[in-house]
Symmetry: C2
Subunit: 214 residues, 2 copies
């Protein structure tokens, strides 16, 4: 049961980086549940899912996170606030954990899993520690892309939050030493009726500026 | 006109990294047009869109790209093959170009645009050249996330391609010295009826493993 191209494009045009949320409107539980499931389903390279997601609903904690986000009101006013963290490394333990999960879910042969494991290990070892962390952070931006599109299609407003202090977030969320570090965040909820940014025409480069055909 | 949570999750569960495409099935022009428009509409930090997209349909070029992709058959067999490139830097010229575009599309005041421009310049200058390139590459993964979700909702199969040689792609596509470099690619089309990967259960970590609530 696919959707029409108009449904897709209407949603992508409707969305914008919501600056002012209506603090009184909350995302219904079933809708939020679907958004969490979309997070779980996000594709990642080798399927590794080098991330964890923290849904921050505690008002005091959100106020503290706002202080680490240039005071942006989306952090406290949106219905839901999601912090996306990336694994700081990609170790044999991480790879083993993923291989074990695949073995449990899929009826894969030990040989095919051993080959995949060797391939991922070779890939990971070719990068520095910093390179592995950076690569994991990239993967979290797939999450961000799928999440913003999914939310728009469900009629949920979102604001991706890059203007944050990852180190400040890590401290507030107790992530130091956990092997995960804040990559990016996303506020989700409903635009306020008077968010002036909702009225500004969407600006993008012309298609011919960004797409070529060879 | 939003879609239901079931429509969203059905599409996200239906999709998988398609390894074997049906080379005889082509994405209809109107559907491809919508996918290109979804690329144009992809959100990016500050709206900078630090990317260009190359749709590669030339069979000889695709065969050469396959050689720079571990010979993976998706490169030549998928209906469409998209190379996503990232800007290798973030210069004053890039920022000016974006500010000029905003001024042309939106009725923004020179003052507000000057403030935004100063903010982006400060942000860019705080990073090294390599840091700016890496940051632009991250942004292209938002593209990948939105593209894979969009394609799935339209019933189009996709395979994100990270196992490629960006340097080899750059040479084949004439990108050297262009200020853009290959970040990642994506094959799009229709799964072959006998792609065994379509039958394997989707493996993800449990929701409780990746999502916490505080």
């Amino acid at each position: 049961m696919t959707i029409s191209t108009d449904q897709l494009l209407d949603a992508l045009r409707w969305r914008y980086a919501t600056k002012k949320f209506d603090p009184a409107r909350k995302i219904p539980a079933a809708t939020w549940e679907a958004l969490e499931e979309s997070l779980v389903l996000t594709p990642s390279s080798f399927g590794l899912q080098p991330w964890k997601f923290i849904v921050v609903q505690n008002p005091g904690l959100r106020a503290n996170l706002a202080s680490e986000s240039w005071g942006q009101p989306q952090v406290t006013e949106a219905s839901h606030y999601l912090v996306i963290t990336a694994r700081t490394d990609l170790t044999t333990t991480d790879i083993d954990s993923w291989i074990a999960r695949m073995a449990a879910v899929q009826d894969a042969s030990p040989e095919s899993l051993a080959m995949l494991k060797g391939m991922i290990e070779g890939f990971a070892q070719a990068m520095s520690h910093e390179g592995r962390h950076a690569w994991n952070i990239r993967q979290t931006y797939i999450v961000l892309g799928q999440l913003m599109a999914s939310a728009a299609l469900l009629g949920i407003d979102a604001c991706p939050m890059e203007g944050i202090s990852p180190a400040g977030y890590d401290q507030l969320l107790g992530l130091e030493g956990s092997g995960y570090a804040t990559a990016v965040a996303c506020a989700l909820g409903y635009r306020a009726a008077d968010d002036k940014y909702a009225q500004i025409p969407k600006a993008r480069f012309d298609r011919a500026h960004v797409i070529s055909h060879v």
